[in-house]
């Protein structure tokens, strides 16, 4: 028996013994997720117990070093752990931008003191993080950000406005891009800082979207004091950290949004069949086309992953995946709306699960905007892959 097989049996045994039955059911909505943080209210005792037990194992962040709250697992062991969790349908114990985004950046760019201070509370779900990147004047062109951090010796004074800050109203700390130097090119003079959302001068307001309520906020920063020990990486050189995280984010958005049920089943259920064929022959054609594209796209995700494992760098192909995946997802939701007709257009009713179809459809329109617009991805492909002049 290989080491990996041994690990698999141990994991299986532990999970069987420690995952509460209630945590082995599918989440029914976003609200079922455990996000942790100072103000988080557990939905159930089982949710709390499940988090505590996983934290004790170091399995909220399995590949992180043990000293920072992880279990020091290899990538292969992590995959085995995830497979075993999936086997019993175990819920993710902790959803966290700290784990998904800041953690990897801290591990790569942080100094020893920063890692020791911030990583363990992330692993334990004690501190919830949000991301302060976009600004009203700096969306696709993130590097033109203006939020200013003035050097006051041992600290900065930060002034400015961030937008699209997910869960800023619920987060404890923020990792944030600020401008520390105005004199050079726009990609220089950006610094990557961390601060407590409870600091004086921080105000977060939720943004209402076309799809309704959203986790996004506008965040206003007025004379916020940020200690210099909370500067990640070198001063003025935060852009390289930001880019590292953006690539991460792009990969998450590109592949994340698979509808559970094939489009054609939804359509057949909604419209019915005539002589075995979807009652709307035009829609039938478009669904077939979209599903073939989806199959080929999913294969591409797998292929690029396999190539990356084999040592090739994904590079700018992450832009291709992000572009294609989000545009395809938008197409799919348009077709779902076509298939569900009047019912899909309902906005507020039990029958429509509070307008779930319509809201999801509208929400997908943001897929090709957030994390770098489709236009930006196409620019990146033109420049880095096709090497077209002036791109």
């Amino acid at each position: 028996m290989s080491d990996l097989d041994t690990f698999r049996m141990e994991a299986r045994t532990w999970l069987e013994a420690n995952c509460p039955a209630e945590m082995r059911t599918a989440e029914t909505s976003d609200k079922d997720a455990c996000w942790g943080g100072r103000n988080f209210k557990f939905k159930s005792e089982a949710q709390k117990v499940w988090l505590e037990r996983m934290v004790a194992q170091g399995w909220t962040v399995p590949t992180w070093p043990k000293e920072y709250g992880g279990a020091g697992l290899s990538r292969k062991e992590e995959i085995v752990l995830l497979q075993e969790m999936k086997r019993i349908n175990a819920r993710n114990p902790l959803s966290s931008f700290g784990i998904w985004m800041l953690g990897p950046a801290l591990l790569k760019f942080g100094n020893e003191e920063q890692k020791a201070e911030h990583l363990p509370p992330i692993a334990r779900g004690e501190i919830r993080w949000c991301q302060g990147y976009s600004e009203p004047g700096a969306g696709s062109d993130l590097a033109s950000l203006k939020t200013k951090a003035e050097d006051m010796g041992d600290h900065y004074i930060v002034n400015g406005q961030k937008v699209w800050t997910s869960y800023a109203d619920e987060a404890d700390w923020i990792f944030c891009l600020v401008r520390t130097d105005n004199t050079g090119k726009k990609h220089h003079g950006i610094s990557f800082v961390l601060f407590d959302m409870a600091s004086e001068g921080v105000e977060a307001r939720p943004i209402k979207l076309i799809s309704g309520r959203s986790p996004f906020c506008e965040t206003f920063l007025t004379d916020v004091k940020v200690l210099k020990k909370n500067l990640l990486g070198e001063e003025h050189k935060g852009w390289s950290i930001a880019k590292y995280l953006l690539t991460h984010e792009r990969e998450m958005i590109g592949g994340g949004n698979e509808a559970a049920r094939p489009l054609h089943e939804l359509a057949a259920g909604s419209l019915g069949l005539e002589d075995g064929k979807l009652a709307d022959p035009m829609l039938r054609a478009k669904i077939a086309e979209a599903e073939i594209d989806e199959w080929a796209f999913n294969l591409t995700m797998k292929r690029k992953l396999a190539e990356a494992k084999a040592g090739a760098s994904l590079g700018a192909d992450s832009s291709m995946l992000k572009y294609y995946g989000t545009e395809l997802n938008k197409r799919k939701y348009e077709l779902m709306m076509d298939a569900t007709g009047h019912e899909g257009l309902e906005w507020e009713s039990d029958r429509s699960n509070d307008g779930k179809m319509a809201r999801s459809w509208l929400r997908t329109k943001g897929n090709s905007i957030e994390g770098g617009t489709s236009e930006v991805q196409l620019n990146i492909i033109s420049k880095h892959i096709l090497q077209l002049p002036g791109a």
Binding site: G139, L209, I210, P281, G341
Partner: protein, 378 residues
């Protein structure tokens, strides 16, 4: 076929343009939505619209209307589309008025003046499944005493929850799927057995579900001939599709113009984003589509006014084309607005919502493409 507006039509358009921009701009819809207004439109506005002649725009003069025809009605609808104006124009001034022009003299005398004066709101209760399908009507009307007894369920009944009277399509013979055997009835929503539920739709406009449970109507509630309701419905839907296409044109054109204005202002990467050639080409393509679409609307409504035998086909084709083009305008609009296009604060999302509903009403693009093929025997 005159494809250029004449003087009267230009005057009507300019009048409508000024009227809706002042009295019922997009923010008026926001107020109705955010106050959860129970009527779903502004009754004072509707009275004003009647005063302008809009409510009676296709009603004959002898019944108190201005009888300016469907092209003129389309010019009004276009401006409503540009302003996302909520009103019973489509349900009452177009669908119901067209239906009642096929009614008995008594029906005309009773209802057409009330339509023209804005005193009655009338809803067409037709669709039952999730998609438009007139031939699929399964609601039944069985003979009962001197009249009929109706049973069935209707969905997406525009202005159904505030209607003074409804026009209900029900089957008096044949089976769901048959064109023959459908009849139209005037039904009082306060009748015993009628249950009305307002359904809040994505566009914050009026729609309702109507359940009919042994609802009794008298024999003189029948509009048109028994079993021959499809002929009246064809006329009603032809007009409705043409006018919906005109409203889509207005909504699509406004979404486009808002977007072009936005990309002329917004800066990214140190450039006005309207300078980026990729956005320029997509905008120019959309401009072309909208020009083509405008011709479809004018051509269809002109054919309708001229009594062209192909008017029904043309209105359906215009509805198909506008469904696609206005949708593209709203999609490109949100994308080119970027992040702010996703916020409720900007209007572009409201256009996307209204366009989605309009393109679904009375048959979406796929429906009409299929009907086009059937009509052309391929």
């Amino acid at each position: 076929m005159a494809l250029v507006l004449n003087e009267d039509e230009v005057m009507m358009r300019d009048m409508a343009q000024g009227f809706f921009a002042e009295k019922a701009p997009v923010k008026a819809l926001r107020v109705l939505r955010d106050t959860q207004d129970e009527t779903g439109f502004d009754r004072a506005l509707w009275a004003d619209m009647a005063g302008m002649g809009f409510a009676g725009i296709v009603v004959p003069e002898e019944h108190g209307g201005v009888d300016m025809g469907y092209l003129a009605a389309g010019l009004v609808a276009e401006q409503m589309g540009r302003n996302l104006t909520a009103s019973p124009f489509l349900s009452t001034a177009i669908l119901a008025a067209t239906a009642l022009k096929h009614g008995t003299d008594e029906q005309k005398s009773e209802w057409l003046p009330k339509i023209a004066s804005g005193k009655a709101v009338i809803a067409l209760a037709l669709d039952e499944g999730v998609k438009h399908n007139p031939r699929g009507t399964a609601t039944t009307a069985e003979p009962s005493g001197n009249g009929f007894k109706l049973n069935g369920s209707k969905a997406m009944v525009v202005d159904g929850h505030v209607a003074d009277v409804m026009i209900v399509a029900a089957r008096t013979s044949g089976e769901a799927g048959d064109a023959e055997g459908i009849s139209l009835f005037l039904v009082d929503p306060k009748s015993k057995g009628v249950a009305t539920e307002r359904t809040i739709m994505v566009d914050s406009r009026n729609a309702a579900r109507i359940d009919l449970d042994d609802v009794e109507v008298s024999g003189d509630a029948l509009i048109g001939t028994l079993d021959g309701g499809m002929a009246v419905l064809d006329a009603v839907l032809t007009a409705g599709r043409g006018i919906a296409a005109a409203e889509l044109l207005g909504a699509g054109a406004q979404a486009f113009e808002d977007t072009v204005a936005y990309i002329k202002e917004r800066k990214q990467f140190g450039q006005i984003i309207g300078e980026f050639q990729a956005l320029q080409h997509r905008s120019s393509h959309l401009y072309s589509e909208l020009e083509i679409a405008r011709s479809a609307v004018i051509g269809a409504l002109t054919a309708l006014d001229e009594g062209d035998e192909k008017a029904s086909a043309y209105c359906a084709m215009a509805k198909a084309k506008l469904g696609s083009v206005a949708k593209l305008a709203s999609q490109e609009g949100v994308q080119m607005h970027g992040g702010v296009g996703m916020t409720d604060e900007y209007d572009i999302g409201l256009f996307m919502k209204r366009i989605r509903v309009l393109q679904e009403l009375m048959g979406d693009a796929h429906y009409h493409m299929n009907e086009f093929a059937v009509a052309n025997e391929f």
